[in-house]
């Protein structure tokens, strides 16, 4: 059984709908005590990093996610949920993350952009796959839907895919049983659904 963590940070229904279409029921789970019983866990999220960590901590979900990550069972962070997997973010001040993967979250540096672009980065953009089983059976580049102003900066060994917006940035990460996607697979039509299908198969 797959759990989607509900910590009051955004729309879980679309993720649930996507799995339902793929024929897989998922549970919306808000209790830290229950997390250990799932085969797979998804950490979604829309909003600000600091608020999200506060919500996770106040319900002890932070500890429960860290414990779950040690079990070898797959954990997938989507958008803000992916950013939370890292050590820290500079969004509205310095905030500590879950620290499951080494790296930090930084704002798009518009001064480094190769052309004038607007932030947030909103819309469809190409993803260039590095590797990783989330992208099994998919082409090396395809479009997914993004909405974000911050992105991951981490060591290349954790990079599963990159994209380009003003400059090259990390759009997917993978470390052992921990997966992260900056774009929203649940809003990315056929390619997004294929990624979620691959997650089901892990």
């Amino acid at each position: 059984m797959i759990a989607i963590i509900d910590y009051n940070m955004g729309n879980l229904r679309s993720v649930q709908n996507a799995f339902r279409l793929l024929g897989k029921e998922v549970h919306i789970e808000s209790s830290a005590d229950n997390l250990a019983k799932y085969d797979k866990v998804i950490l979604p999220g829309v909003g600000a990093f600091g608020d999200a960590m506060d919500h996770l901590k106040s319900s002890n979900l932070d500890e429960a996610i860290i414990e779950f990550s040690k079990t070898d069972r797959p954990l997938l962070g989507i958008c803000l949920g992916m950013q939370l997997l890292f050590q820290s973010s500079c969004e509205f001040g310095h905030h500590e993350g879950l620290g499951l993967i080494d790296g930090e979250i930084k704002a798009f540096d518009t001064k480094r952009f190769d052309q004038a672009l607007k932030v947030p980065h909103m819309g469809w953009n190409e993803v260039f796959v590095n590797g990783g089983d989330l992208f099994d059976g998919m082409s090396e580049e395809f479009y997914l839907y993004f909405v974000h102003s911050y992105h991951v900066v981490c060591d290349d060994r954790f990079v599963a895919a990159k994209s380009h917006y003003g400059y090259e940035f990390v759009s997917a990460v993978h470390k052992e049983n921990i997966y992260g996607l900056q774009p929203h697979p649940e809003k990315s039509h056929t390619n997004g659904l294929k990624i979620l299908e691959n997650f089901i198969k892990l």
């Binding site: 955004g10 729309n11 229904r13 679309s14 709908n17 996507a18 339902r20 279409l21 829309v46 909003g47 600000a48 607007k118 932030v119 947030p120 909103m122 819309g123 469809w124 479009y143 839907y145 909405v147 649940e186 809003k187 990315s188 039509h189 997004g192 659904l193």
Partner: protein, 242 residues
């Protein structure tokens, strides 16, 4: 998609509505044909029927996996919450923002700028453009460019800019106001109103400097195929998802 009493409708210059189908079926067709986003504008007149749109979105979100925006009659933070919780990704606010601009700040703070789209309906007046309300019937007296700057400053994540002069005419977007606003604000601007050909949509991106283009009639009545349109735009070096 303009939705009235649970049906997709389309008019010219916001009047003379024609039926264009069931919203769930139409949305599913666009999802399958390669549309990048879908926007619903609820133009139901009576307040009692307002819940209809929430149910429609709920049904659409079960089958459609591209971003959904919903506008029309959104007055309170609870209205936004009701839509987001059934699978809508962004809400589009218009009159409520004009009546009480703080509503933009409040929505952005609670749900994030990325889901607050401010719709601005404009008409040429004299040397400039005025902001209109209620489907083009009420002139607010606000200057379109000043209002666009204010909504961006207050935390709107996108501007859905509709030219009421052009809407439904199929004679092309109002490129001048689109380009002026798009060059000024640092948030995406969606050009709307007047799309009649592939060239018009190309112009919205090049001459109009728009970040996205919205069209209704040409897709509802199958005058332009979405896949053909995207191939055309790609051939003109406009980045599109194929």
């Amino acid at each position: 998609m303009d939705v009235k009493d649970g049906r997709v409708v389309k008019g010219v210059n916001f009047v003379g509505l024609r039926d264009a189908g069931d919203p769930v079926e139409v949305a599913k067709r666009y999802n399958d044909e390669g549309a990048d986003e879908i926007t619903f504008l609820d133009i139901t007149a009576s307040h009692e029927k307002r819940d209809t749109i929430v149910h429609i979105v709920e049904e659409v979100a079960r089958e459609v996996f591209i971003p959904l925006t919903v506008g029309g009659g959104i007055r309170k933070l609870d209205d936004i919450y009701a839509l987001l919780s059934v699978g809508c990704d962004k809400v589009s606010i218009n009159s409520s923002a004009i009546k009480r601009p703080e509503f933009i700040d409040e929505g952005a703070k609670r749900f994030g700028s990325q889901c607050i789209v401010v719709a601005i309906d404009v008409k040429r007046s004299g040397n400039g453009w005025s902001v209109y309300l209620n489907g083009g019937r009420v002139d607010t007296g606000l200057d379109a460019i000043e209002w666009a700057a204010e909504v961006a400053k207050r935390g709107a994540g996108e501007i859905l800019l509709t030219s009421m002069d052009a809407d439904g005419t199929k004679k092309g977007f109002d490129l001048e106001i689109t380009s002026r606003i798009s060059s000024m604000v640092n948030i995406p601007v969606i050009a709307s109103g007047g799309a009649g050909s592939m060239e018009h949509i190309e112009d919205a991106f090049t001459k109009g400097k728009a970040d996205a283009a919205l069209a209704a009639s040409i897709f509802h009545y199958k005058e332009i195929d979405i896949v053909d349109l995207k191939h055309y735009l790609k051939s003109k070096n406009i980045p599109v998802r194929l």
